[in-house]
Point group: C5
Chain length 376, copies 5
């Protein structure tokens, strides 16, 4: 439990995260479309160029400039230009121009927070996907991938490690990556992005299992807040996963020349994963909704039990208390034989006690008949 | 907080706004279709003509009359006729006739409150969109845009500033606006209208964040009313945004000659924004629904806690009170040894106190076993 | 308020209206299809024939018989046969035969309560629409319209005034009605039927606004019943409006020869109105659902407040009452120094009062810390 | 009311009905498909053959055997073989073979509880529909209809009277039945099956009206159970009606040679009825859901009122009771002037009463200000 | 009941089952696609080969190796290779290579927990389905079926008995299995898998019936937990059944050469069963949701009743108790004629008792008028 709450606390406050992620960074209302704007908080860009020959030969060139790129495109059969950090608007713009990307696509690279989407241009395919690099939603960043059979160009917001396995496979001379065209490399990157959502959803599943055990044991108020919080996070995740699945489906269905049939077959597998992710999130949400309802039901059942006890105790003792009060009245028996003669009876007190016992037993019998005592 | 409520108070009362906006202004039931009716509250019209040459030359002519317009159409490659205020039914009608607009389209211009829509006529495209010019829904007005590659004619209800950025770009000789045909100008206007919804939705997001913090701190009754109010406003907004997205999608999909492929590519971007707006509103609505539920749950949890305390206190003290009352009865011990002999016992009082203590401790033990004391 | 309830009371009881409207009047189960059955409560039919020439000439012939009709069809370019009241089954049947209507269509004319629909026959188009002639749903009646480019034949259940504006425009020699074929006349009638729903929905909107103000001021039980009642009425209305919209959409989309492109363009406007009606009803339903929830929430919040007060008062005074009862016991101090010695202390009474004060203040401090006093 | 409960009691217990109806009778898991299994509770079969000539001539032959059928098919232009009771598996199988029905279709005839469906075979059309022969769901049985233009073969589970009107029309020499091919006869049977649902739904509507009146008068616990029960029944009915409508729609849309255009036109009417049934059931379900909610709301409103009274009475009298207890304490005034000197004041008692009155009036004023007294 | 809870207890804990079933076993994030990974808990594989000649001749060879398989494919017209247990990754891989299965398909065989799906490859059809071999969801395992007209290859996780009936029909020389191609054998296996879900759903239906009877008799807290648990299980089942139905529908619709029209006709029957299963699960879920609501409603109705009693008793006896306390006060009548003169009245006590009786009767009359006594 302690571990769990830590995980939760480490997450930045929802309010802030929201501003960071949900609200698309836009040029001012009415600005010319395609205007490139800089984000003051953006990371400084790092350009890494990976060149791959069909024979397993490859080079890694860090901090390349534009002329290096132009040279590499001529020399190598496929290249991967990997740009992390979007602070330098002009650099992104010039790379875009060099590869012939549409101005609006270049704008989308910079205005992070775009919905997942695929655009088929004449010369290349443009894919925008949200990427997690750690096990929580707050690490989400936008990856923009431009590719055709000759090159892959990726832009991401921050240095992150989701692409590391692909890099390692390149360094290890992974056969498939070298034998196929650059579109297969793009597939491998997209696959890595999609699969990075599994750990997050598995974490959520485990948290939900924990909470469920707690709710069944004892329904407490802060569980409610946590469950609502978590359900909203899952909902938010689904909003990301739906268009992501659609974007990948568009890649699978298209007959663009930039994607070989073979790569599309592999993308089918990624599409299966995306659907699996959606179903896991759907299950999480369902379970949470059910748990919230169950929590409310159990809390309400408990209150009913409490009210039941209150009623039984009050209903028995309030009349008895009245009787005791009655015989505690100070009407003067000396003045008149009508004034509380029972107080001076020989068996007055035992009779009174007996009467009280009869009332109490009668009420208990009534409650038993009603079935209200069965619940204690 | 104070600031927030001010924002809310400044908005006109819902009832009045509704009448103003939801109810389409119609000709009397059964009137001949296409009947143009004047709205007594409408603004007097102001006609402004902007002429744009391909070489960046342009003119702004205010308070033009019909003959000016005819002349300008002959002389300039593209013109923008900007009409604000719909009080002069005849003027609107004559402009419509001059440009060859369909009678029903002219009727739609005047009967504000139309749903967002696109109609492809032989000679031009007719678009109706609701426009915000300030950050609340009450500032909504209808903009009717007629355009083809040669002209753009816009009608709006009140003078407003959403188009100002476009006007400035014209005055600044914005390259794209002069190089392209008038359909691009229409796109720029539509884009400005759509983007004007972002500030409203961002305001709502922030308000919701504020309310969320409040609800988590302390659930109060007036938060409920505010959240219901806000949820309805968001719902209303969605009703506007759905057909707006459809209208823009129709513009993107059409193969009308009045829209160049290039402009349609730009409209795709506007379409993305419209979808983004819808998702933001969807998120707002979801969050509000979740918050209302959470509010109810927390309030109910709090009542449970209160009832719990009531039960514990009553269940302990009502029986004790009965015992005290019992020994406060006035049965006469002098009359009979059966009458309350315990009152005269040497250790009667301490025994009675001890008995009460035993009852109280027994009940507390019972509550502890039930787990009801854990909640205090 | 008084006015409002009057409006509501004037409406016939729901139970009766339901029987009248929802349950289709059918031939006995298993009867031969196309069997024409008479409704004993039906109005006696009135046949009115309006003949229209292209040059604005027209005649109105009341109480025509079949031979008149045949003559008029030969003589005039377009005619409108207007039949109000369906008591004479044979007459309807003979008119149907004279114009060549399908037996099942003739059955639909008589078995009122049909769903709105359009059927395209070889020779004509058959439209069934529900018509309101006053501002409440109980005035609903079925209108059956048969038309092609030469004639319009309408059957309705009762004499009503929705078509009056069209009649007036004919009498006034309305240009459009005379210049175009009879399908335009059919359009004008359909438009009149659709527009007659606006006043009803506007009335409901206003009622809802009134109720909303009441709910926000004070949530009362009878508001609940009214809101449920109204929501059901709106839902019922939607059931009428959905197929109505579909029927009109079918008229707009069809390429039947009986409808000119020009008339279809006009029907697009009617379709817009139908969609508008649906959205208004959707908004009403949403608002009512929200108000019902808000009502429940406010009532529940109020109960929480009441229970809170009960708890505070009981929790403070029941222990104090116990203490008072304790010192009201009659243990005999004369018998033993252990029996209630505090009663004979010099400062016994003030100390007891002080103790009570301490208990009370302690509990108040506890409640204040819990934040329960903040709500009063 | 007594009448109503009788109607309800007459229905078999839900549990049993469910087993009878919802669970398809299947061959053991893994058995060869097309295995025909006998139901031990099935009715013994009765075979009736109706032969129809085009000239109105017809014969009714009861208890026919297979050779009779073969002869009749040669001799007459159309025949109807009517089999009630499915106990004789072999007989059904042999009839199926004689007419050339697919083995799986024959299996469907015997394994009752199939979903409504239509299958278009090369030689005939196969329709499965659930039939009611009395006004409650428990009388549901499966009717299997095989037909083409020459014959109709029907299998049903029990002798029932839904087809009686059709039989009577044959006996009366009904013109349409004799003039048309056998597919029209199939239509007449399907129409009879569909129309038999109207009385059930009308009964439910009336019951709901009754319950509604009761709920509005006084919300009781057993109404809840009844409404839930009824809503489930209606839901169950909808599960039957949805695929039934789809099956009929498939018959209307198909261009199979076994159905003439004329018959399809008539089936459109049946389709309208099926949609009408669905809408009636939808209305019933809606109304029930609304009523259940209203019931809960009213019960909750009533509890609020009760708790309100409890609070008012307790809050007034518990403090007063404490004061009375206070002055009933036995501190000894003789020991000290500090001990309860007020008891010996000249106006002590009236002052005390006055104080109590002030407290009570103060609380009443507080409640009035809060608006809590307005509800009594 | 005891029996029932046993059934429930035998099921493994939800938490564990979930980990086992819902979470797809995946290669590490970023691993090369098509990587085959071993599951340490997997069963050791058993290979059984069944060869079938068209003339009813067949052989069963256990523990075959790859060379046997290659021989059998040459010799026999159709073979079924049945592999249970997936521990030997290499073996699965080599079988896959021998038959020419796609690497990703081979990966799917090993990474159990795939969604039900169908893939049409050039050379064969690949089907993944979840299989139950006992009457609870925890026995779910993945079956992978590769087939064309010559062979069927099945992989499953554990030895199970769902295929036993098919094996028996082979041993018994079942005609249909020998006369048709291997695709019919594949159909028979798929049919067995689908039908194995019926017992589970029938068990759930019966459990729900039992719970319903209990809920109607007495609403208890643990029923709630059980119903939520069961509803989630049913929901989970639906998630399996939806894609299963879609997969079978794809087999029915495809025009792949590997499936004969005849087999597709049989698969239509399996499709019907899958739809039936979905409807049964839908009914179960609906019933459970209705029951949970009913449970809550009844519990709430019961609490209302309890609170009602509490209110009546408290409201009657608290004022009476106050009166008794009043006349128990010790104001000194000797000091002043104003101090409690009523105590010394001749009829003081009877008058006081009478007054109390009047108050009690008055309150009872008030409750009766309010209708609150009618509920006891």
């Amino acid at each position: 439990m302690a571990e769990l709450s830590e995980t939760i606390d480490k997450k930045p406050r929802r309010g802030r995260r929201k501003k960071r992620k949900d609200v698309i960074r836009r040029a001012p209302v009415g600005a010319a479309p395609g205007t490139l704007i800089a984000d003051p908080d953006a990371h400084p860009p790092e350009l890494t160029l990976r060149t791959l020959g069909d024979d397993g030969q490859h080079e890694v060139i860090r901090n390349v400039d534009l002329s290096d790129i132009v040279g590499a495109r001529r020399e190598w059969s496929k290249i991967w230009l990997d740009c992390t950090g979007l602070a330098n608007v002009e650099l992104v713009d010039r790379i875009g121009e060099a590869f012939g990307f549409h101005p609006l696509a270049r704008e989308d690279v910079l205005n992070v927070g775009q919905r997942p989407k695929v655009e088929f241009h004449e010369d290349h395919v443009f894919v925008v996907l949200p990427m997690l690099d750690r096990r929580h939603e707050a690490s989400r960043e936008q990856v923009s991938i431009f590719f055709n059979r000759n090159y892959v160009v990726t832009f991401q917001e921050r240095p992150g490690d989701v692409f590391d396995p692909v890099r390692k496979r390149i360094d290890a001379g992974g056969k498939r990556l070298f034998e196929r065209d650059a579109d297969y490399l793009a597939y491998a990157l997209i696959d890595a992005i999609v699969d990075a959502y599994f750990p997050l959803l598995e974490d959520r599943s485990e948290e939900i299992d924990l909470i469920e055990d707690e709710v069944l044991e004892y329904a407490e108020q802060d569980q409610l807040t946590r469950m609502y919080e978590m359900r909203r996070e899952v909902r938010q995740l689904q909003r990301t996963l739906w268009p992501m699945r659609d974007a990948i489906a568009a890649l699978v269905r298209t007959d663009s020349d930039h994607l070989s049939d073979d790569t599309q077959r592999f993308l089918t597998d990624t599409q299966d994963h995306a659907i699996q992710l959606l179903e896991m999130s759907e299950t999480s949400r369902d379970t949470l909704t059910g748990l919230i309802e169950l929590h409310m039901s159990l809390a309400s059942a408990r209150t009913n039990e409490v009210v039941n006890l209150l009623t039984i105790v009050s209903t028995i003792f309030i009349p008895l208390g009245f009787l005791a009060g009655l015989w505690g009245m100070n009407f003067n028996p000396d003045v008149s034989p009508w004034n509380m003669p029972e107080l001076s009876l020989y068996f007055g007190y035992p009779t009174a006690l007996g009467l009280m016992l009869v009332v109490a037993l009668g009420l208990i019998w009534y409650f038993r008949r009603k079935g209200w005592l069965g619940r204690d």
